[in-house]
Symmetry: C2
Subunit: 366 residues, 2 copies
C-alpha cells in the first residue's frame, strides 16, 4: 500500500492505494467520530462488496445503515439523492454519522453531496470501486448531481476524510467501465506529464489486461497529479480548471445524448480528441500530435468521434458549462502534448469547422 496526502488550507486527508484494502477496516475506524456509518452504494456494487464491508465494520461495533441506489448516470439527480436523505433520517442518522461512498463516480459524487448537505455537513469517506473514481472523482472534493439543463450543476466542494483505492475491486469492473476510467488517466498525461503520456502509450495493453503493477502505477500517478493540482486550487479559481480537459466537450455530449447513453469517460475520450483538434486549429499541435491522441484514445477502447449535434446545439450545451465567465466559454486546450492551458473563447469559424469535421460522426444516433 502507498499513501498520498492531499493537503488543503483547512484540511488534509490520506489517499491509500493498494491491494486488499477493503478488508483492512483499521484504515477506516480512526476516521469515524461515532460508531455509526451509512454505506451508500448501488444495485450493481452491493451484491459484490456491501456485505463484506458491513461485516467487517459491524465486527468492530460499528452500526451500518445500508443505502442501495439504482445504478447509472441517469440516476444522478435529486430524486436519487433524496433516497439517501430518506434513509438517513429514517434511521435517525446524526450529524456525526459518517457516509461511506462504495461505488463509482456517480455514487461518490452523490454521497459526497449528500454528506455536504445532511444537517449542513456530515463526515464522509470514499471507497471508489471503478478506475474512473479511483483516479479522478473520489479525490479532490467535487460533489454534485445533474440538472436536466447541465451536468454537475448542483453541488458542493466538500472533502472526504479518507480515500481508499483498492486495486482488487477493479477485478469485477466491466471492460467498458475500465476503458472509461483510462480516459481520465490519459487526461493527466495530456494535461501535464508528457513522460506519463509516453508510458501510457507503451503500457496500454497491460492496463487493459488489468496488470496489477500497471494499474497501481496509473492510479498512483493520476492521484499524485490530482492531489498536487487540487492542493494549489481547491475551489477552481485557476489551475484546477485544467483537470477539465475534454470535459466541456464531454459534458455537451452527455447532455446532448441524454445522461447515461455514453459513460462519462467515453464522452471525455471523444471530448479530448476535439480539444486536440481545436488546439491543432490554433497552431499549437501538429497533425501528428492529434493522431497520437486519437491512437491512444482508440487503443484505450474509447470513442474517438463525437455526435453530430450541429454547432448550435453544441454551443447551447457548452453554454451551461461551469467554466463560462461573462458569456465566454473557457476551453481547456493543449499548447503541446503534456501542457494544457485555459483558452477563453474560440473563433466561430473554428467551431463551425470543428463540429462538422473529421472527428464528428453523423451516424451516432441522438
Amino acid at each position: 500500500m502507498i499513501t498520498l496526502d492531499l493537503t488543503l488550507p483547512d484540511t488534509r486527508y490520506p489517499i491509500h492505494i493498494g491491494h486488499g484494502l477493503l478488508d483492512q477496516v483499521e484504515l477506516i475506524l480512526p476516521h469515524l467520530p461515532i460508531p455509526q456509518v451509512a454505506i451508500v452504494t448501488n444495485d450493481v456494487v452491493a451484491p459484490l462488496y456491501l456485505e463484506r464491508l458491513t461485516r467487517q465494520l459491524e465486527s468492530h461495533g460499528v452500526h451500518c445503515i445500508p443505502v442501495i441506489l439504482p445504478d447509472g448516470e441517469a440516476h444522478k439527480n435529486w430524486q436519487t439523492l433524496n433516497l439517501i436523505f430518506d434513509a438517513l433520517l429514517g434511521a435517525n442518522a446524526e450529524r456525526k454519522t459518517t457516509l461511506i461512498a462504495l461505488g463509482g463516480g456517480v455514487i461518490g459524487d452523490m454521497t459526497g453531496f449528500a454528506a455536504a448537505c445532511y444537517q449542513r455537513g456530515a463526515p464522509f469517506i470514499q471507497i471508489p470501486t471503478t478506475l474512473l473514481a479511483q483516479v479522478d472523482s473520489s479525490v479532490g472534493g467535487k460533489t454534485a448531481i445533474n440538472h436536466p439543463l447541465g451536468k454537475n450543476m448542483i453541488g458542493a466542494f466538500y472533502q472526504p476524510k479518507l480515500v481508499l483505492a483498492d486495486m482488487d475491486l477493479l477485478a469485477t469492473l466491466p471492460e467498458r467501465e475500465l476503458s472509461a476510467g483510462i480516459a481520465e488517466v490519459i487526461k493527466y498525461g495530456l494535461l501535464g506529464d508528457a513522460d506519463f503520456l509516453a508510458w501510457l502509450e507503451a503500457n496500454m495493453d497491460k492496463l487493459r489486461a488489468r496488470d496489477p503493477a500497471a494499474l497501481q502505477y496509473a492510479v498512483r500517478r493520476s492521484c499524485e497529479m490530482k492531489a498536487e493540482i487540487v492542493g494549489q486550487d481547491e475551489k477552481e479559481q485557476g489551475v484546477r480548471a485544467l483537470l477539465n480537459l475534454g470535459h466541456t466537450f464531454g459534458h455537451a455530449i452527455e447532455a446532448g445524448l441524454g445522461y447515461g447513453h455514453w459513460l462519462h469517460g467515453e464522452a471525455v475520450g471523444a471530448g479530448m480528441v476535439l480539444a486536440a483538434a481545436a488546439s491543432q486549429a490554433l497552431g499549437w499541435l501538429s497533425a501528428e500530435d492529434v493522431q497520437r491522441v486519437v491512437t491512444l484514445i482508440d487503443a484505450a477502447g474509447l470513442p474517438v468521434r463525437s455526435p453530430d449535434f450541429g454547432v448550435d446545439e453544441w454551443m447551447r450545451h457548452m453554454g451551461h458549462d461551469k467554466k463560462v465567465e461573462s458569456g465566454v466559454i473557457r476551453f481547456i486546450l493543449l499548447k503541446q502534448l503534456g501542457q494544457a492551458v485555459i483558452q477563453p473563447g474560440l473563433p466561430p469559424a473554428l467551431l463551425d469547422t470543428l463540429f462538422s469535421g473529421p472527428h464528428i460522426d453523423a451516424t451516432i444516433p441522438h
Copy 2:
C-alpha cells in the same frame, strides 16, 4: 445607518442596519463580481419591493433575473429550491452571478442554499424583509430546506457577501410576522443578556407599535450578539448551539403541526416557555423567572402554550434535531435568565411532566 462586521476565519462581511437602504444601491454594487444578479423573492414581497430594487440595479447596468417563489414555510422544500435552479440555468446564470435574497427567513435560507449549491457555490446577498430574518436568519450563513422528517435537515453553512437590513421594509410586515420576529429578539435577551431582556420588557409596546428607534436598537443588539457568537463558532461545534434556545421544542412543534401552520417564530416562542419550564424543573429558574418569560412572550403576541402531541411524538420529532449526539438530545436550557447552557438529555420523568404540564394546551388542533 450603522454597520456591524461579522468576522470569520475565512471571510468577513458587513451587516448594514438603517432606514432607506433598499434605495442605496451603491451598498450592493461593490459586491457584484459580474453585473448580473438573480433576485429571489416570493409572491408577497415581489409586488412590494422587487420592481424598486430591479430598477435601481438596472439603472447601473446590472442585469436582473427575477425568481418569484410561492410564499411560506410549507414551500421550503426541494421542489421550490429547484425553481431557483431552473430559473438560473434557463437564464444561463454563471458561477459568478450573485443571488440576492429579497424576503424573510424562508427566502433567505433557500436562496443561500441555492447559492451554496449552484455550480458548487455562487455569491449571495441577504436583503431581509422581515424582523425575524433581520435579527436572526439572514446573519451567520445557516442555509437549508426542510425534509418531511425534519426541519432544516438539508443545507449548508454558506456566508453571504453582505446583509442589508432596511428598517423601512418592516412597515409592510403583518402583525403576526412582527411578533414572530420578536420571538428571536427575546431569545437573545434570554440566552445571553439580562439587561437586554429587561429593556425588552420595558419596550415591548414600542416594538409592537414599530417605533423606529426601538426597532433599530432591537435589530442592532440582536445582530451584535449573533455576529459575536457566530464569529466564535461558525460551524456550531460549541457555543453557537445556544442560538437554538427554544428551537428543539419549536422545530418539533412545526414538524408535528405540519410546516406552515405556526410561524417559525411562534413555535420558538412556545418552545422557549418549555425550555424555561424544563430549566425550572432542574432547579435553575424560579417560578417567578418562568412567569417573566411567559409574560414577555405573551406580550409579544406569541403563543405561550404548545400542542399536546404526547411525550412519544414529542420525542420522535425532537429525535430528528441536528443537536442529537449519540442518541442524546442536547437541550438548550437556562441556568438563569440571560444565561443559556447546553444540557445533554433530560430525565424521562421530567419530560413526561413537561409534555403534560401547564404549558401544554390540548385544545390546539394537530
